[in-house]
Every structure is written in structure tokens, then in C-alpha cells.
């Protein structure tokens, strides 16, 4: 898993729950990386699972809820890191439709080893979109948070509902309807 996910996750934990919680979940997770992450590195996905599990126990918030919150947070962080990507779109739907063909292509240029989820568009109109998320990680809540924050970024809002196509969340269908 890309380093930026870890660094931004810990950033969010620190901002939201403080330095002590951050230190605690790092220590309790017994990580091979010892919690030392850099956005240009790549780290074992299990470290994220450990960190998320420890955080959930520590703050008593379900893991998916935390991932959703992290999604909202991560959109802004990625936007700050690569503002030109977001600027090239003029609507949230356009951005979402281009994840697979445009954004992930650019990600692969910088990080050829990145393991990216796939987003397959099954239906589309000017104001609605149906996307199937597929990833062995099953981090669909993170994806939902990112999508929601995307609409907010464009001063818009949408109702995003999801349907687990597989119980472990490795394949999820999102129905997105833009408001107004």
C-alpha cells in the first residue's frame, strides 16, 4: 500500500485524536516499519489493517466509520499534493468518470507498483452515475468518503448509496445521484 495513505492516515489520527493516540496505536500495532512512513514508499497493507484495528479499539469507533472519515480527509490531502489533477475537471461527475482512465493512469506513471482499485462505470447520465468498485482490500468506505468529499469540493452534493456485491466488500456498487 502506498506510503501517502499511511502518512495521511497518521496525520488524520494526530489531528483528530491527538499525538498520544497516534503513538499508542503505533506501539500497539507492532509494525515492521515501526510506523515510519514516507509518501514515496510502499508498505504492507496489513500494517494499515493493524493501525485501523487499534484505532477502532482505542477510540471505540467502527473501522468502516473511521475509513469513511479518512476518505473525506484524504480527498483534501490528495488535492493539495496534486492540485492540477483536480483543476482539470469542472464537475464531480466528470472527475469520478475519469478515475479509471485518467487519474489512475497518472498514478501509475509516478508509482508503477501501486495496487489500485478498479472503478467500472455501469450507468451514467449528466447527473447520475453507477460505479462498481473492486479491490482485494475491500476499502469501499474509504472510496465513499473520497467521493462525497469530491462533491463537496465542487460545491455540490450527492446521495451516494452502496450495495455490497460481495460480502467481504471487495466488490461494491455505488449509485450516485447529484443534487440540484
Amino acid at each position: 500500500m502506498k506510503g501517502i495513505i499511511f502518512t495521511e492516515f497518521l496525520e488524520m489520527v494526530e489531528e483528530t485524536f491527538g499525538l498520544e493516540v497516534t503513538e499508542q496505536i503505533i506501539e500497539e500495532s507492532t509494525l515492521p516499519s515501526e510506523g515510519v512512513y514516507t509518501s514515496v514508499g510502499t508498505y504492507d497493507f496489513n500494517e494499515m489493517v493493524s493501525l485501523l484495528t487499534q484505532l477502532s479499539e482505542n477510540v471505540d469507533i467502527p473501522a468502516n466509520k473511521l475509513l469513511h472519515t479518512f476518505g473525506l480527509y484524504l480527498f483534501d490531502s490528495l488535492g493539495k499534493a496534486h492540485p492540477e489533477v483536480i483543476k482539470s475537471f469542472n464537475s464531480p461527475i466528470a472527475l469520478l468518470m475519469s478515475i479509471e482512465d485518467h487519474i489512475h493512469v497518472h498514478v501509475k506513471k509516478l508509482y508503477p507498483d501501486a495496487e489500485l482499485p478498479t472503478f467500472t462505470i455501469v450507468e451514467q447520465s449528466d447527473t447520475s452515475l453507477s460505479i462498481i468498485y473492486a479491490s482485494s482490500r475491500g476499502l469501499y468506505s474509504l472510496a465513499q468518503g473520497l467521493m462525497e468529499k469530491c462533491f463537496i469540493h465542487f460545491n455540490s452534493s450527492a446521495h451516494i448509496s452502496h450495495e455490497l456485491l460481495k460480502e467481504d466488500g471487495t466488490q461494491v456498487k455505488f449509485d450516485i445521484v447529484q443534487h440540484g
Partner: protein
Amino acid sequence: MSSMDNKEVVLLKKALERQKKARRQAERILEEKSRELYETSHQLKETNARLENLLSEKTSELEGVFVNIVDPYVVMDLETNVIRMNSAAVQFLGYDFPNEPLNLSTLVHPDYKKYTLDALKQLYSIGTLKNYRAKIFLKDGSLKFVQVNSSMIYDKNRKPIAAQGIIRDITGEMEAEEQIRASQNRLSTLISNLQTGVLLESEDRKISLTNQMFCDLFHIPVSPDQLKGADCSNAAEESKHHFTDPEGFVKRIEKILKSKKLVLSDELEMKDGRILERDYIPIFSDGKYKGHLWTYQDVTLRKNYKKNIEAQKEKYWSIIANMNLGLIEVDNDDVIQLVNQSFCAMSGFSEGELMGQKASEIIHVDEKNIIVEKGKERLKGKSDSYQVKIRNKNGETRHWLISGAPRYDETGTVVGSIGIHLDITAQKTLELQKEELLVELEASNRGLQEYAHIVSHDLKSPLRSISALATWLQEDYKDKLDDAGVYNLQMMQEKVEGMDKLIDGILKYSSINSETLERKPVDLNTVVNDIREIIYIPEHVNVIIMDTLPTLEADATKMHQLFQNLIGNAVTNIDKKEGIVSIGVEEKDRFWQFYVRDNGVGIPEEYHEKIFKIFQSIGNEERSTGIGLSIVKKIVDLYQGEVWLESEVGKGTTFYFTIKK
């Protein structure tokens, strides 16, 4: 510091430691990536270079391999079997390759077999073959001229495996070249046969072209071809001896060559008397001097022609001036342009008085219209002769015979007429005299005829009286007269009879003339038969018609007289026991030739002409008056015939006469 503070410091220290580690990790990762990137780019460069090598190798090996090119492209093996060809080649050659195997050498026209073999050898040994040109047969049998550029194809060990070539159809070009060649040939034939000596020099004064005429003009003993390339820089000096002004010739050439300007019709006099005309034509191509052309023409004849004409004119003029015929030239308005000495003498005017005057005004012609009419004829280009009566300066009447002809200028337009005059006054006078004489003669002839009639009539009546008196004398004095008296009276009767015949003869003779001639068909057989009845023919004489005689358009009486006189003559002259008078005819082109032949006494040669004259008779035959043959002659003359005789004394006589058809 509180424990809270301490705890926070520891946490921060730990966090800082993590951040430092993270930075070092990031730097390490970046260095690692950098190295990887370097290696990758290095590898890429290597691969690139290898690929480039590969590409250039391919390119050099497959030079001219243009499968997609428009021109026909063919790859063949070393036995000239086609391995590959593009669609353009398939279309051009007409062979359905690869379904139809094709060996290229089979396409080559027989004339190009050897050339092709040599070309292939060159291709195999050198590796390329440019501008191979040959005629080939296409599938449909048509013949094309093609140009092929080809090169060998080698395997990686540089071993030749095939050859490739691009075919270009140059049939059209070759035809055009052929045409150009043909026209060049025509041109050079033209130049070589030109009646002008031609010398073309290049800019460095080498002979590019010359012809036979040039060699002939300057007596150059080699062929024009051998002169090609010869240096002309000293030619003027070498050939100056041909000319009457050698130095002038050399100087002139130097001047011309220096100025390089067109020079036409330079005249050169040669020592052998010929005159040449020379043109100099500089040749410029794109404003650059490329050489020059000399042309020489022998104009000796042309030059001499004018001189000859002058000389001839002189010669003829002196003849004209001195001839005994008057010559006058007038223009279309009859104004005198030229007269000769004789004309002046004839007319009585001097040359000064005549020149510039109107001929018809100064010379007084009796019938002026004749001159006007003849003038019109001349304008039509007609020439003829006519007579005029004029009065000369002294007022004397003269007769002139004029031969007139139109005068032309060099364009063939009639500009006047020319007349040759002969003074025929003397002849004319004679002619007039003759005419007068004839008239007189006719009158006197007529008078003579009348006289003959009167005389014969007047003579006959005393004769009849004498005859009657003699008869009475004989009857009345029968008893008183002795034998001699009776004999004398008989003789007197006979003489009177003879006199009577003579007078008849004269009358007949004088009445024979053309005015009284009748023209009717006369069967001469009937005429002769009648005569046989009328005249006395003794028992021992036979008159025989040998050939059937013709029927002529003639006067019956005259024919009768003609034959009667000749037959009578013949019968009279028979002295033989058996007398034969034969009459025959022979038809000739323009006349009939008759004969009357006897076997009588014959006529001595000295009399042959005399006997046709009036009152001439030979012998003393009482019955002969001497007029008969004169009448024969006169009648034959009337029919524009001739009469003659062949005779041998003692054997007989043949009279011949002809009558015009």
C-alpha cells in the same frame, strides 16, 4: 516541567524520530529510484543504438525496397526467377504472380540478350546496376522499352541471395529519343548535301561539323568526318592563298571573330576566278558564346550572269541597230521608247524627232484603226504580222510589213509592244502590177476566145464555099477533066477538110478553160466504149481496157476529148499487122494515173516535149492537125495533172497522164 509536559516531549521526540527516519527512508527510496532510472535509461540507450544499427543495416541492405512504391518493383533470385513483386509490377508485366511463376530473362527481347547477360554479370560482381535499358515482352505480347535500376540483396554473412529492381516504362521516352535521333539524321543529311559549304566551329575553334561542299570549295582532300575536331585557330592563315587578297581575308576573319556579330554576304574573290559569298553566324546559348557557323556559297555564276546579260544585250543591240529592219518599241500609251537606225531611215524622221512621241501621231498610217486594234491585241499578249500603208516624213507613200509582239517587264506584265518593220513598197508595187497584168490578161484571153470563134466561123464559111465549088467543078466537069484534074480536085477537097478540122481544133482548144468546167460523175469505161464506136478503128487494131476505169467527178465532154485524142493518136500510129491499144489506170494517193499504150511507130525522144505544143506535129499524116496533144495537155492541166510519155521508135508509145482526185 510537569509530568504532562515530559510525556508530551517524549511523544514529540518519538514522532520527530519517526519523521527523520521517514525522511531518510524517502531519500534512500529516491536514490534507489534514481539508480534504477539511470540503469533503465542506459539500457534504453543501448537498445536504441542496437535498434538503430539494425534499422540502418536493414535500410542499406534493402536499398530501394519499396514495396508500396508506385513503380513496378521486382525481387528475383540469382537465376532471375521472380521471388516477389508489387502490384504495380504485376499490373505492368501482366503476369499473375505468385500463381504464375516468372523468369525475367524470358521477357528480354532477343536483341538485348547479350546486353542483359553482361548487365547481370555486372550486377552480381559490383552489387548494383543503374540504367539498364532493354526491350521486353509483356504477357500480352506487347513490346516495351524499360529502364531498370537494381541492387543485390545479401544475407547476414554478405552472401548474395537475390536482386531487386525498379522497372520504369521508358517506351515513350525512347520513342521521343528515336524521333529526335531521326530528325538529327535528317538534319545532318540535309547539311551534308547542302549546296552551301558549312563549317561549324566550337567556342575553342574546333570543327564541330562541316560538309562535302565545304571540302569541295576549298579543295580539301579529306572527308568532312575526318575534319571533325580539327583545330581552326590557324585556318585563315593556311587557306589565305586561295584568295586574291590573302591579307585582307585574314584580317577580315580576325575582325569578325573578335566582334562575334552576325555578318552576312561577305564577298570573297578567289584566285581561280570563283566568287564566294560568306556568312558568319555566332551561336549563343543563354547569352553565352558557344561557337560560330561559317557558310560559303559559290556565287560565281550569279555574279557572272548579270555581266553576261549585259554583254548579250550589247551584242543583240548592235545586230538590231544595224539590221535592215526597222525596230520600234512603244509603251502602253503608244509613246516611242526606242527606235533603231533602220526605222529612222524608213520613216524619214531622226531618232530625236521620234523619241517620246506618240507613234500613231508622228507616223501617218492610212488606217489608224489597225494600229489601235493591234495595240489591244498586244495587251492580251498576242503577236502577229500585218501590213500598213503609211506616209513618211517626205509625204511619200510606203508599204510596211509589221511583226508586232508585246513587251513584258520582269513580272510578266505587258508594258508595251515591239514592232519589226520591213519596207515592202517595192514588192507591193510589183504585186499591184502583177494584179493589173492578170486583169489585163483575162480580158485579152476573153477577147482572144471571142476572136477565135469569130475567126473560125468566118473562115469556115469561105471553106464551105470552096468545098461546094470544088464539088460542083468535079460533078459539072466530070467529063472534061482528066485524071490529074480529078485528083487535084479531090486533093483540094481533102485540104479543105483538113482546114476545117484545123479550125474546129483551134475552136475547141480555145474553148477549154476552167470557167466552163462541169463536175458530174463520168464513167470512163462508158467514155472509152463510146469512142470505140465513134472513131475509125481499122480491123487489125484492138483497143483494150486493161483495168476497169474509175468514175470521176469531171466534165464529160473534156474527158471524152482527152481520151479520144489519145486513143485516136494511138490508133493512127499503128504500123504493125496486129495493132494493140491498151488503156489502164493505177490509183495513187492524190490522183489517178492513166495510160494509153500502142505498139505503133514510136516517137523520137527529141519530140517528147515539142509534141504537146500547139500546131506541132511529126510526120506528114494528113489527118494530124497538130492540135490533139495540145488539147490533151490543156485538159490535164485543168485537172491539175501531168502528162508525159515513154516511147521507143518502132516499138510503140505509152502516154501517161494524171487527174487529181
